[in-house]
Amino acid sequence: MLSVAWALEWMRRSAALVAERRGELSELDRRIGDGDHGENLARGLEAVVTRLEEQPRPQLVGEVLRTAATTLMSTVGGASGPLYGTAFLRASRVCARPELDAQGVVVLLEACLEGVRDRGGALAGDKTMLDAWVPAAEAAARAAESGADPVEVLEAAALAAREGSSATAALAAVRGRASFLGELSIGVADPGAASTALVLEAAHEAALAGARSVA
């Protein structure tokens, strides 16, 4: 089972991982966007960690996600603020419990996916962060169905998000400012898909670390 401690660790590791790779994310964004994705998201996630440390310890996984959502909305000025904000807001509504099992992780990821889809209006293959969220949620559902534990479900999701993100390099953007580049955007991965892969990698690492500390 994944606890509130996991959710807190997820946010800490997301902040650390995105901060470490912020240059890489911003470089992708410089080539096909406005160049601020890494800095914006790193600043937003850092604010999430600060906010979580300041507030009384949450009792439910959803409370952690809600704080993440509202903080990202108010600290990230680019499109990724409303997108991640909506993803975590929707996830917070379906995670109002102290622990998540494998199916709970699937529900969380599917809520994130629905949030990103509703907010951005993109379709799979449009070269957006949806191209990481869609395979991640699908892989998670398949893993849970075949009896995987929550850590394995997140591992499957993180791997699928990584592959989905890499595959966006071959696509031409049809959404957002990158769409003005059209075919010229081919060859560069989508920065939002790349950051989604990092955030899900952090979710898996946090779950692994929790499992190790229990063992």
């Binding site: 909305m73 108010s74 000025g77 909506t86 951005g120």
Partner: protein, 234 residues
Amino acid sequence: MSAGVGLVLVAHAGELARGAATVARQMAPEVEIAAVGGFLVDQVETLGTDVGGVLAAVESQLDAGRDVVVLGDLGSALLTAGLVLELLEPERAARVRVAEGPFVEGAVAAAVKAAGGASLEEVTATVTGAASQWSLPAGAGVEPSEPPEQDGAARVVLGNTTGLHARPAALLARLVARFDAKVTVNDAPAESVFELMKLGALGGAELLVSAVGPQAEEAREAVVEAISSGLGEH
């Protein structure tokens, strides 16, 4: 009962939002237009859009009893506006629309429409419709054609020197909105600022004004009077 429609203009830079609001207000000074642009990082404005700022601007208009149309300058401004809708209570969100269309032209068209007392849906639709307004004026670069003859229509000479540009066109559109009548000027619907501008009518041009509807006569007389007197200009 709603106190009309107000606008919230959301842009990635404060000066862009404020500039668009200034242009729109010139056409419709009585409409409430809020400009929300840029994103503060450590008290310094950066490029971006601010969910909290947009939410506050929308809530303030709703609190004043107005319905609200939100316009954005780029896709992510519309994402922000969409999220604001999700954060509002459903019954308040029902009084807000996010309009997709060109930012400046949409703001101007929406402001003029709102000044004429149009509904939330009408103001929203006019923003979307403003996307089709940037074709060249009919007859641009060629000699103006003779207006067709028509029964019950009145010919009038445009009394200003600069022609039917944005401000006089807006004045005319607002004038006809007061009447229960459908007024056309050389076949252009007079309630549409952009259709009027597309006529490309220069000062001294002869225009054909016709009207149908219960107040057709009054509307036609008022429009003829306004056009011949130069629409507030000389």
